[in-house]
């Protein structure tokens, strides 16, 4: 009996130590320190500690699952102690750090191993009293995580939703207060729940409960609603869809009024990335042409608009609306021009060739050579704002509508393309070029159209971007934009149009909202990309056919996982 339990608990310790190393990493890169000043619940819980607790929580959850899994159900009685054990173990690396730090000056190498961190890890006490507390807190949170795993699905989902809501409202308390103020909620009411940054204790309880409640209701009602919808005759169902779309559109149009200019700006950025994402999706997702230099067309759209409209360049000084079609056309042509030399190149060779194209464009627009045209390092400023009738689209709250219109048009074009002859040709080409050619598809034309149209979409985004910012500099068109666009279509689900929207929300809006945590933005972005790909390799909203293909290919994984979980020497 004891032997069996010990065998069941071994994975828990391993998971716990891995979690502890993660916590150690978070501490040593300075996140715990940096976030310590940021309250979630004012006076009770800081974000720095939240970070550590979350690590312990997740550790506990995984440990409980592993324990259950490892002993095929027999581990159920020890799952909770296992989770607690894992939480306990996750505190050890931190404790070791503090103890070592008392003796050795780690700061000579690790800049964040400083007394401030030690103070946070020991809750401001001396190590003798603080460290046991740290380890015990780990055990407590770990067992909470274990309990979440063991509880029935609905309950644990509701708890997770409640905790999540609480954390998010705490995190974005400042932004929310601004929104509530604009909505006419009196400051006195808001004050009950939120103070400056962070929630009050009452606020934490209310938001947590609200989140849990919504999740519970949602989980119980959704299947019913869906069943009723499915029962409707097709014609009425279509009407329901139209009505829902109308409501959705109304909300979309209303958003900037309530969100204020910063959040509107974030949405504009999301919109611009959606435009680019739809374009790249067409190249990568449908036609199967990998492109790591998509920023080139964004840059070309932006620069063309800038050159044509800004009085600084002394060219034509057109209006936005006159220059927009030209910018799109130039981007489109650039797409075709890029397409020609790489026609014969496939797969990963294409990745680096296109990456090169993006870099070439950025270097050229910033070069001293093209300075008379593009302004070189100094860029082009004084790009006039778009004027619609008598309204100048000055701030992000107005540009937003331009972006929404652009997105709707491009989305419409994209869906039509997808089901057209051309769209099917692209997908055939993606599956197998040689077969597609044998079936009579003109590869040259099809490929060039993919590059050209994709580039055109990016050109729209670039032109709007230039008009919104009012100036263009070569520095704005770095490789990271190409990477981000590619990442968002994969994270969203390759080839899927709604996936582009979801991906953009995740990879553009989130980092922008977390702008406050500046130094750790890219750290979190990187971690997020890895985690998402590991958890959902098919993307957040995959295309139906891809969903099928993946389901098939995943099958042989199952036995592999079982052997991995049962083999004893698993700690390597």
């Amino acid at each position: 009996m004891g032997e069996r339990f010990r065998a069941a608990l071994r994975p828990a310790v391993v998971v716990g130590l891995v979690g502890g190393v993660m916590a150690l990493l978070l501490s040593l890169v300075g996140m715990v320190n940096a976030f310590a000043g940021r309250p979630i619940i004012t006076g009770v819980l800081s974000m720095g500690h939240t970070l550590l607790f979350l690590t312990a929580l997740v550790t506990g959850m995984i440990a409980a699952r592993r324990v259950l899994h490892a002993s095929r159900g027999a581990g159920r009685p020890v799952a909770l102690p296992g989770a607690a054990l894992a939480g306990l173990a996750s505190g050890f690396p931190l404790a070791v750090l503090v103890l070592v730090g008392q003796v050795v000056n780690l700061r000579a190498v690790l800049q964040n191993a400083n007394p401030v961190l030690y103070g946070l890890l020991t809750f401001g006490r001396d190590p003798g009293a603080g460290l046991p507390q740290l380890v015990l807190a780990g055990a407590l949170v770990g067992s909470l995580g274990g309990a979440l795993t063991l509880l029935p699905g609905r309950v644990s989902q509701a708890v997770v939703a409640g905790l999540g809501t609480m954390l998010l409202t705490g995190l974005f308390a400042e932004l929310l207060q601004g929104i509530l103020w604009d909505l006419g909620v009196p400051a006195a009411t808001t004050r009950l729940f939120m103070v400056q940054k962070g929630l009050t204790v009452a606020g934490a309880l209310v938001t947590g409960a609200a989140g849990a409640l919504v999740q519970a209701v949602w989980a119980s009602q959704t299947p019913k609603v869906r069943r009723r919808l499915d029962a409707l005759p097709p014609e009425r169902r279509r009407r329901v869809n139209v009505a829902l779309a109308a409501v959705g559109l109304a909300i979309v149009l209303w958003l900037p009024q309530v969100l204020g200019s910063f959040l509107s700006y974030v949405l504009v950025l999301v919109g611009l990335y959606v435009l680019m994402g739809l374009g790249l999706n067409l190249e990568v997702g449908w036609a199967g042409l990998l492109d790591l230099g998509f920023v080139a067309f964004f840059a070309i759209g932006a620069y063309t608009l800038a050159i044509l409209t800004s009085p600084e360049t002394g060219w034509l000084a057109l209006t936005f609306w006159q220059a927009l079609p030209v910018a799109v056309l130039v981007a489109l042509i650039a797409g075709v021009i890029l397409g020609v030399p790489v026609l014969g190149i496939r797969g990963d060779y294409l990745a680096i060739a296109t990456l090169g194209f993006g870099e070439i464009v950025r270097l050229l627009v910033g070069s001293d050579w093209l300075r008379p045209l593009t302004g070189g390092s100094q860029g082009i400023a004084h790009i006039p704002r778009p004027v619609l009738g008598n309204i100048a689209l000055i701030g992000p709250q107005q540009i937003y509508y331009l972006v929404v219109a652009g997105c709707i048009i491009v989305w419409f074009v994209a869906t039509r393309l997808r089901n057209s002859r051309l769209g099917r040709a692209w997908m055939a080409m993606r599956e197998d070029e040689d077969v597609a050619q044998a079936m009579g598809i003109n590869l040259v034309q099809t490929k060039l159209l993919a590059y050209g149209l994709g580039a055109g979409f990016a050109g729209v985004a670039g032109a709007i971007f230039a008009a919104m910012i009012g100036s263009v500099f070569p520095h704005s068109f770095q490789l990271i934009i190409s990477i981000n666009v590619l990442a968002l279509i994969i994270v969203g689900g390759m080839g899927s149009i709604p996936g582009v929207f979801v991906g953009a929300l995740f990879l553009v809006a989130m980092p922008e909202l977390l702008r406050e945590f500046t130094e750790y933005r890219l750290f979190m972005y990187g971690g997020l990309l890895i985690a998402m790909m590991l958890l959902r390799p098919q993307g957040l909203w995959p295309e139906p056919t891809v969903r099928l293909e993946l389901a098939e290919s995943e099958e042989p994984e199952v036995p592999a996982r079982v052997t991995a979980a049962t083999s004893p020497g698993q700690g390597d």
Partner: protein, 414 residues
């Protein structure tokens, strides 16, 4: 079915109505002006015990982050020097990354502008970010002081109302570039110069000012070259320059690329004895550390620290204690001064209520900053002009000696 349609229609109408109402409400700027303080663009009220909120918009993430982190540390040391308090209120520093590009500048500005409790903003680092971000910050009523924008147009007389409330403690490129050219031509008596920039607006404009001034004085500019900010192999570009036999190479760029040029220049045939000169972007012990022995004897232009040596070495000591390392870049002192100017100005204009509430007139604060005169800062004796230039335009040229920091001043104009 009808019900659904009706519901949808109702929602649309409701949404439009609410949005109409929402628009009528004044955005942001909440507190009703206290009876005794009025101001053209608003009064900031800070309740008893609430912090004075200072914001930064600096480039604190990404490849250019040393610039922004360096400036932010300057601000943090300034806050420490105030004891963390101003008129009995704690000082709170919040901030955003401006990314050293216009969209980053705009995003940071919009996010900061949404917070009406901010009294002033220190930033931006990069002129491109300022160009896109400052108008938004200015409209929000903030006072803005940049520690490192050097592009001339930001404080040009025709900069327009978009830049109201914008100041800088960094010196205009026009001053520094010209001083460097005069030093090379008049003091060193050199007649052939080459320049290198790294594609940043800062370096490009500085070397252009240098080249123009050098030509005006009668010298010849043999090359105006450029490299990338992340380039490491500089021998090819240096070999090109060597072919035209300049007597001095002026490269007003940043630490990483600057150190590479310095250490490699000595190994290129024809450049063994050429004079090397950089600017304040490289004025840092890190630069000398990275460039190694090759930096010996080269010149750097920088603000004239001589008269303020004691205050500055004091600052360096505090910095070392707080962060465990030397300053990362060149504008920490400018940021320190920017913060101090704001604190002094707030002390001047803030009206304190009986319960400790602070009332700060936003326009009054701008005026107070604009009236800054004889402020003894780390970077010199600061006086603000009507268009926002607060820097002490006294630039000096220093000669680097390895193992000694700060280097010795060798020349200053007049």
């Amino acid at each position: 079915m009808r019900k659904w349609m009706l519901l949808a229609a109702l929602l649309v109408v409701a949404a439009l109505l609410v949005s109409a109402c929402a628009q009528r409400q004044p955005a942001g700027e909440a507190p009703p002006p206290a009876p005794q303080v009025t101001d053209d663009i608003g009064v900031l009220k800070i309740g008893p015990g609430e912090p004075v909120r200072l914001a930064y918009a600096l480039v604190v993430a990404g490849p250019d982050e040393t610039l922004g982190i360096d400036s932010r540390r300057g601000i943090e040391v300034a806050i420490d020097d105030m004891g963390g308090k101003l008129l009995g209120h704690p000082i709170e520093l919040v901030g955003e990354d401006e990314g050293c590009n216009p969209e980053g500048g705009q995003a940071a500005a919009l996010k900061l502008a949404a917070d009406s409790r901010i009294v002033a903003v220190i930033g931006t680092n990069c002129s491109s970010a300022a160009r896109a971000g400052v108008p938004t910050l200015s409209k929000a009523g903030f006072t803005i002081i940049s520690p490192s924008n050097t592009a001339p147009f930001l404080t040009a007389p025709d900069r327009g109302p978009d830049f109201d409330g914008y100041f800088r403690t960094a010196h205009n490129d026009k001053v520094q570039g010209a001083v460097a050219a005069q030093f090379a031509y008049k003091f060193l008596g050199l007649r052939r110069a080459a320049t290198i920039h790294d594609g940043s607006p800062y370096a490009e404009s500085l070397q252009q000012v240098f080249a123009d001034e050098f030509r005006r004085l009668g010298g010849t500019v043999t090359n105006q070259e450029a490299v990338g900010p992340e380039d490491t192999e500089m021998r090819p570009v240096l070999t090109r320059i060597a072919a035209n036999k300049p007597e001095i190479i002026y490269y007003p760029i940043f630490i990483a690329a600057g150190a590479n040029i310095t250490s490699q220049a000595r190994t290129v045939s024809g450049l063994e004895n050429t004079v090397l000169m950089g600017a304040d972007g490289m004025f840092s012990p890190d630069f000398v550390d990275a460039a190694g022995s090759a930096a010996e004897g080269m010149y750097l232009s920088s603000p004239d620290f001589e008269a303020f040596g004691a205050a500055y070495s004091d600052f360096l000591a505090k910095h070392q204690k707080k962060y465990g390392e030397k300053p990362l870049s060149a504008f920490h002192a400018h940021a320190y001064d920017a913060a101090m100017i704001i604190f002094k100005a707030i002390e001047k204009v803030a009206v304190q209520g009986p319960d400790g509430t602070l009332y700060i007139g936003r326009k009054a604060l701008r005026d107070a900053v604009a009236a800054t005169g004889n402020h003894a800062g780390l970077t010199g004796n600061l006086n603000c002009d009507p268009y926002g230039d607060c820097s002490d335009p006294k630039i000096a040229v220093y000669q680097v000696k390895v193992g000694e920091w700060p280097p010795k001043k060798v020349w200053s104009p007049e």
